[in-house]
């Protein structure tokens, strides 16, 4: 993990879409099915060549948002623009957007090759050009050997590649991917994450990738749009969303964190017996403090750091580090990342620097 300062200076620039007008602009989109409100007031710009992930739990509305972009659903209100073209009234078959479906949706009666050629044939491209582009696309996803096979004869990972080739061969301006890796097993999934990301860099097409897996979102995205109960909680780079979560929900959803409920009075934060100076105005505030920002205090403490004494309740092995749950005398349970060597019942001296405690907006109670 790079330091907080690093991540702020290096990545803030990427939070905004790249220079020039955005490729796709979603403006105040809302969607209800009957009385069930699925999306509320979503505004989001997608830049040329960007890898944007829409991250959210099931039921957060992420697939609906993707389907609105593709044209399979109409927004109840709001607009979707691609450059100067308003997409809302366009049927899906007139949009220069292609989709990789969750269960691939390969045509079972057509061979791999015919599946990939489908879009070009429908568009009436010359047979020679079609054949050449299909061959290139199959080569790119390493499926040339299976060109004549029917989809039912190839594995899930291979179907995934074919679905990708079938979409990319049309050179869309935007590729939508609806949880394309969710059906694959863990190993293949990690491998495909890397392949997909490098393929995206290579072709330079903007990807909008929907997933419920925060780790996947962190690994692959240029930016993450975190959706919760139909509203955007935060749109930012993975690094920023991790180190500067806007809300308590974001802080908890992405990685592990400690949420500290505190009061600010006259330039000092008070959370139980803990206290540190702040520039925040008076009132109650929540802070997010990542486990790796709490250190075992050895010897003299760093200037300005906050010291806590806590007893270890539980300890779990997480590869390179351990995650330890420890309780302070005022009953606050903290999650701490340690290099190991800690056992249950130990009394620990912990410390963190106030700069690492990030004030977050309390998330409203929804769902």
């Amino acid at each position: 993990m790079a330091t907080l300062k690093d991540s702020l200076t290096a990545e803030t620039a990427n939070t905004q879409p790249a220079a020039g007008s955005p490729l796709l602009s979603i403006r105040n989109v809302a969607k209800s099915f009957g009385r069930n409100v699925v999306l509320r007031n979503i505004s989001l710009d997608i830049a040329q060549g960007e890898f944007l992930t829409i991250l959210g739990e099931s039921g957060s509305g992420k697939t609906t948002l993707l389907r609105i972009i593709a044209g399979f659903e109409n927004a109840t209100s709001g607009e979707v623009w691609m450059g100067s073209e308003k997409l809302d009234q366009q049927p899906p078959y007139r949009r220069r957007v292609n989709t990789v479906f969750q269960h691939y949706a390969l045509f079972p009666h057509l061979s791999v090759e015919q599946n990939v050629a489908y879009g070009l044939r429908v568009a009436g491209r010359p047979e020679k050009e079609t054949a050449q582009r299909v061959a290139e696309a199959l080569d790119k996803v390493k499926m040339t050997a299976h060109a004549k096979a029917k989809p039912s004869k190839i594995s899930g990972g291979q179907q995934q590649r074919v679905a990708l080739a079938r979409a990319l061969v049309n050179r869309p301006r935007l590729l939508l991917l609806d949880e394309p890796l969710s059906a694959l097993d863990a190993n293949l999934r990690r491998q495909m994450q890397v392949e997909l990301k490098s393929l995206q860099r290579e072709v330079g097409i903007a990807f909008v990738f929907v997933t419920h897996d925060q780790e996947e979102a962190m690994v692959m995205s240029d930016r993450i749009a975190l959706l919760r109960s139909g509203e955007l909680e935060q749109v930012a780079t993975p690094r920023e969303i991790y180190s500067r979560p806007a809300t308590a929900y974001v802080a908890q959803f992405i990685g592990h964190t400690n949420l500290l409920k505190a009061d600010v009075q006259a330039g000092r934060v008070r959370c139980g017996t803990l206290s540190w100076p702040t520039t925040l105005p008076d009132g109650s505030v929540q802070f997010s403090l990542r486990p790796e920002h709490i250190r075992l205090a050895g010897g003299p403490s760093a200037p300005g750091s906050v010291r806590i004494r806590a007893q270890v309740l539980h300890q779990a092995f997480h590869g390179a580090t351990d995650l330890v749950r420890a309780r302070t005398p005022d009953g606050i349970v903290l999650v701490v990342r340690t290099p190991g060597g800690v056992t249950v019942q130990d009394e620990l001296d912990l410390e963190f620097s106030p700069a690492d405690a990030i004030p977050v907006r309390a998330s409203s109670e929804r769902n």
């Binding site: 049927p91 009666h109 489908y118």
Partner: protein, 282 residues
């Protein structure tokens, strides 16, 4: 895994049923088809192929068989033309009314065949509903007589009766098409018409083959519609079989025709199964 007694209880009744009510009658028919009738109207149990010779040589049997097949082919065509759009509409565009409409298609199957055939007689007859209406509207000044007692009446009635049989397998096939394939096709730039011809129709072919087989085989063997509504020009092969087993008392010849029909139907079923397999991808 299962006890011996259980296996016997489960397997013996159906095997007995098939043996007594299917295999035995077919065996008898097979034997009869090689026997003959004496001038004194008794069955002569001496083996010969005279019946089959007669079938091949006498044109009346050929002509009736061809007419029956032609009628069955028309019934099949019209059943598909009616059943496919209906199934397509129900499966893709009926929305919340789907179940109700489905029941409406099925309900006629609960009405007796005879009732429906007689209903057409009432509608098509020279004093029937249709003729009365046409004369009342001064579209004609005398009853149209080609409506009843003609192949037309037979095709119309059989189409009415067998369209649900063509509809059902087509509907089942359409319902099995994953909807994301339709979305994928739209997504790849195909408009609804192209999507239909490139994705939906090819994937519904097994249903079309099954529906066509039902309509053709069932109407080929039908004898009630031609009996009630066909008149002399609408006679079908089954009517000949019925009369050979009845008034004409020539069971051997009737058995020979039946076996010939059986051969045709079995080859059709075999062919249709091959076709369905070729076009199924699940």
């Amino acid at each position: 895994m299962f006890s011996r007694a259980y296996k016997i209880i489960v397997t013996v009744p159906p095997v007995l049923w098939v043996a007594v009510f299917l295999l035995l009658p077919y065996l008898l028919m097979f034997c009869y088809s090689f026997w003959s009738v004496s001038p004194a109207q008794t069955i002569v149990h001496s083996w010969n192929i005279g019946n089959y010779k007669e079938l091949l040589l006498k044109s009346v049997y050929w002509e009736t068989l061809l007419r029956s097949m032609f009628i069955a082919a028309r019934v099949t065509l019209f059943s598909l033309l009616l059943g496919y759009p209906l199934a397509y509409f129900l499966s893709f565009h009926a929305g919340p009314r789907k179940d109700l409409l489905y029941q409406l298609v099925i309900i006629p199957l609960w009405v007796s065949y005879l009732v429906r055939a007689y209903a057409w007689k009432t509608i098509l007859g020279s004093d029937g509903v249709l003729n009365t209406l046409l004369q009342y509207a001064h579209l004609t000044n005398h009853p149209l007589d080609f409506l009843l007692y003609s192949p037309f009446a037979v095709v119309l009635t059989l189409t009415h009766i067998y369209t649900p049989f063509a509809f059902l397998p087509i509907y089942a096939a359409l319902e099995h098409i994953p909807r994301n394939l339709v979305e994928a096709s739209h997504d790849l730039g195909a408009n609804p018409a192209r999507t239909f011809w490139r994705v939906i129709f090819p994937l519904s072919i097994p249903g079309v083959v099954a529906g066509a087989t039902f309509a053709f085989v069932l109407s080929l063997g039908d004898f009630l519609a031609p009996l009630l509504l066909g008149g002399p020009s609408g006679i079908m092969i089954s009517n000949i079989v019925v009369s050979l087993f009845g008034a004409a008392y020539n069971w051997p010849l009737g058995a020979a025709i039946s076996l010939g029909m059986l051969l045709i139907v079995v080859s059709l079923l075999f062919l249709s199964e091959r076709l369905e397999k070729k076009w199924s991808f699940s």
